[in-house]
């Protein structure tokens, strides 16, 4: 192995590369890199791209639990089995699923999209705002900072499904902490899960609580890379705290912010457990986001696999379009990654 890898380095440089020899040289130079990535490429191909392709294909069919078998077999009197082709076998239906989903004949695509957008925007805005505020506070020299930091990061340490249950418990209508506090303040207790906006509110609170620590720690890391001299100089020049924040902190945090906002948006958009476990879509599916809606379409009642795939393709398209525009916006501002 050693001799082979050493070969390209010691070989005399070829002045006039012909086509086959360039391929050959590329192989010599890169074979070990390719060998290193090979396992992952295989896994990606088998476990992600093959199912992805199949998922896209399924979205053009009418596959569901009832019509998935290719043959219907019946026991005959002699004990053998007679199989005949299933007349209602699933088949290619073209764009039918997309038409039905987008025109609202099945499911509530546009309603769910609206809820998803509110859910994502509010969630990420609070994650980022609160995370940034806390990071700035924690970046100051302050007594007990280590303790604050550990306490503030704790929500991240709790598995998401446990947090979801914890908040569902807190928002319980009869004996939850939230209603007990409201009663204590002299306000009537709220039936949280029987109205759309209060129900969505509980999910967003859960999500904000879950997501702030990540933003806080990430932005704190970003803040610490900003040289203190900049603040020193700005102060000597008489810059106010707000000006220092605008002119030093925000630009210094740009690349970190862009990454965490992109990741945060994608994660929140696709965040399954919170809605699934906290609101369970109550009341009557009004707080469903796209992922949970699609999931229920696929795995509750008569399982409609093709419809779920259609939703999957639509969700992925939305996210891809978003990230393309996001990257383009970044590039315009001179940010390349």
């Amino acid at each position: 192995m050693r001799t082979v890898t050493a070969a390209p380095a010691s070989a005399p440089p070829d002045r006039r590369p012909t086509r086959p020899s360039r391929l050959r040289r590329s192989w010599d130079r890169n074979w070990y890199a390719w060998a290193m990535v090979l396992p992952v490429v295989i896994v990606l191909a088998v476990l992600i791209f093959y199912p992805l392709g199949r998922g896209i294909w399924l979205s053009f069919t009418n596959l569901n639990e009832a019509n998935q078998v290719a043959e219907i077999c019946t026991k005959s009197i002699t004990g053998g089995e007679v199989c005949e082709e299933n007349p209602n076998r699933w088949q290619y239906v073209g764009l039918d699923n997309y038409v039905r989903v987008l025109t609202g004949q099945v499911g509530r695509f546009w309603e769910w999209t609206g809820i998803t957008l509110i859910w994502t925007f509010v969630g990420v805005a609070f994650h980022y705002g609160l995370g940034l505020g806390l990071a700035i506070l924690l970046n100051r020299p302050i007594r007990g900072r280590g303790l604050y930091r550990v306490l503030l990061v704790l929500p991240w340490a709790v598995p998401a499904f446990v947090s979801a249950f914890a908040w569902k418990f807190i928002f319980n209508e009869r004996f939850g902490l939230a209603n007990s506090l409201l009663t204590g303040l002299g306000v009537d207790p709220l039936p949280w899960f029987s109205e759309r906006w209060t129900s969505l509110f509980t999910a967003i609170v859960t999500n904000v609580w879950l997501g702030v620590p990540f933003m806080m720690v990430a932005l704190l890391g970003g803040l610490q890379t900003i040289p203190g001299e900049l603040y020193e100089a700005a102060e000597i020049d008489g810059a106010s705290p707000w000006q220092r924040f605008r002119a030093i902190t925000m630009p210094g945090l740009r690349s970190t912010s862009m990454t965490v906002i992109l990741l945060g948006t994608i994660w929140t958009f696709n965040l399954f457990p919170v809605i699934f476990l906290v609101t369970e879509g109550e009341p009557a599916g009004e707080t469903e986001i796209l992922v949970t809606g699609a999931y229920r379409a696929a795995f509750e009642g008569i399982r409609n696999y093709s419809l779920a795939s259609t939703y999957g393709v639509l969700i992925l398209s939305i996210l891809l379009v978003f990230s393309v525009f996001y990257r383009r916006a970044l590039r315009k501002q001179g940010e390349v990654w």
């Binding site: 992600i48 100051r140 598995p159 446990v162 999931y295």
Partner: protein
């Protein structure tokens, strides 16, 4: 704890302009506070506001956790009571019930098997990839990086159905391996991405030195870089473990019988639509959280630097 204080020191070193003066010294937090306060003239009111905000935020952060912890020691009637009490007739009965009279331990075992399997296979497969993507500029590198990012965008809904039908054809539905395979779709791109970020932070001069000493790329990776990256690998492994530990969607779809449930899905059994038993749920929640939480607190510092490094330098 020691980890958090040392991080505090590192942070203040970076944030203080007068770093050279106290380069060798290790000043106490108090001395530093006064120096900085002298510069920014923090008034008692500001200080009060600062601490007040942080205290409120900390209370919000730990409140729900503490509330669940307190509730787990209450008997059922106290949990279901509308009167707000912090402690009432404390008992360990909930824990005893959850541990010995339910399938909790079985679910715990299932979760450990699935999460450890995902973690082991995921790390094993992605370690060399992270290294190759970090070090070599080979054709296909950028597309691969893009794939890692794009797979972060995949909604559950798009892969779950095809994987489900594939598993059904292979007869793997309602088995733990089906979950491991499904989780690898999340774990492999994620681990590669994270590890790439960490390998970026290891100086390439080490690789060059190893190459001069006659190591091939594989030997360099195995003998030089991987040992140095051990903490990073540990953090990535742990995060992968946690992701699999807390996954709900695949587990709900693939697993159908009680003895194969993982914790994330099994815990739902305590709180059905009718007659939910919150006292048992809270006890189980505490049991699930404690081990994960402890290790996480040690690991989280490295986690974020890896994530954002992978993103910004890609």
């Amino acid at each position: 704890m020691s980890q958090s204080t040392s991080s505090g020191m590192a942070a203040s070193t970076a944030g203080t302009p007068a770093a050279p003066i106290r380069a060798g010294a290790t000043p106490t937090a108090r001395a530093e506070t006064t120096r900085r306060a002298g510069r920014s003239r923090r008034s008692p009111a500001t200080s009060l506001l600062l601490h007040g905000t942080l205290i409120v935020a900390s209370l919000v952060a730990i409140g729900p956790i503490v509330w669940v912890l307190l509730s787990s020691f209450k008997p059922g009637y106290a949990v279901q009571s509308t009167d707000l009490t912090l402690v009432q007739d404390p008992t360990l009965a909930n824990y005893r019930y959850v541990l010995f009279d339910t399938s909790f331990l079985r679910w715990l075992l299932n979760s450990v098997i699935v999460a450890a399997g995902t973690m082991g296979i995921g790390i094993f497969l992605s370690a060399t990839t992270g290294y190759a993507v970090s070090r070599f500029n080979f054709p296909g590198r950028r597309p691969l990086m893009m794939v890692f990012l794009v797979t972060q965008m995949f909604p559950v809904a798009i892969l779950i159905v095809p994987i489900y039908t594939i598993m059904a054809r292979l007869g793997l539905i309602n088995t733990l391996p089906s979950l491991v395979i499904a989780y690898l779709t999340i774990a492999v791109p994620f681990c590669s991405w994270m590890l790439k970020g960490y390998f970026d932070s290891i100086p390439t001069s080490l690789d060059e030195a190893a190459a001069l000493d006659g190591c091939g790329p594989f030997a360099t990776f195995w003998r030089v870089v991987l040992p140095l990256a051990r903490p990073a690998v540990a953090v990535t492994a742990f995060y992968t473990f946690l992701t699999a530990w807390g996954e709900v969607a695949y587990a709900s779809a693939f697993i159908q019988t009680d003895n194969q449930f993982t914790l994330a899905y099994g815990l739902r059994q305590f709180v059905p639509q009718y007659n939910p038993q919150w006292e048992y749920l809270t006890a189980a929640a505490v049991l699930v959280t404690i081990p994960a939480g402890l290790v996480f607190l040690v690991a989280q510092r490295h986690l974020v630097s890896g994530l954002t490094a992978g993103g910004t330098k890609g």
